[in-house]
Amino acid sequence: MNSPKLDPVPAHPLPSQVVKADEPVFVARAKAGDVSAFETLVSRYERKIFRLTQNITQNREDAEDAMQEAFLKAFEHLGEFEGNSRFYTWLVRIAVNQALMKLRRRRSNVVSLDDEIDTGEDMMPREVEDWGPSPMERYEQTELSEILSRVISELDPPFRIVFQLRDIEQLSTEETAEALGLSVPAVKSRLLRARLKLRQRLNQYFRRGTNS
């Protein structure tokens, strides 16, 4: 038997916000046993899933393992995917679970995601400086990616993971809450805190007059 052929890496990656309209077609074909259709889905989402597992675990080896396990589990359980959500959302939830298991194993002292977190401290932003239009254009793509990785890695896991799911993977607040076993108000308060902390950290790179 020939080995399954994997699709080449797409020359132009998908814009973050786009899940291609043909996704259900590939999912249906994969469910019917078409291996190449599943491989197409892997090629389509491998970068995003690796970024997700990397941002959660903050460890390259764990991120790689979690991504691999997520795709294998998705394949194994594809028959249980009922199409009530997008395939990508379903895949993200599997990948989050795998990545959280790695994170908890490596950092047993890490705060549990569902622990109460005191978000009552003063959240009033201290640095209020205009960034001007298109501040990210001041940086090369690689440099910008490094900045974003750095600032998100500085967030504590409960904030980082909620931000990752809600604002990067664009799950709804309810989907994020369900994926993490949190209440909707808990997701909202962590999301607000995460956004404000990231804004504050990006301020040093993007305020007017920086790097120009």
Binding site: G33, E39, V42, M123, L191, R199
Partner: protein, 85 residues
């Protein structure tokens, strides 16, 4: 409405999840308060920057390991499948 109220409602405001009355009150405040306008604008930009950032390509060794694992697994799971050939 005070500046601290704007911060409290910021996430729902940016997600357009507020009732119209509260939204109008916030927008009135934003019309008068430059600091709050900057905070709202830069927080929105923060979300947009992350949301629009493209994931980096997989390191070649990572990609090779993923695909080796998939090939092995798919072959084992669907031994009779030849649709890829």
């Amino acid at each position: 409405m005070k500046c601290k109220d704007i911060v409290k409602e910021l996430a729902d405001y940016l997600d357009e999840a507020l009732d119209p009355c509260l939204r109008t009150s916030i927008e009135q405040h934003l019309g008068e308060c430059k600091d709050c306008r900057v905070v709202v604008d830069t927080t929105k930009q923060t979300i947009d920057i992350f949301c629009n950032s493209e994931p980096a390509p997989l390191p070649p060794t990572t990609r090779a390991r993923l695909h080796d694992a998939l090939v092995k697994h798919l072959r084992r799971a669907r031994p009779g499948n030849t649709s890829h050939a």
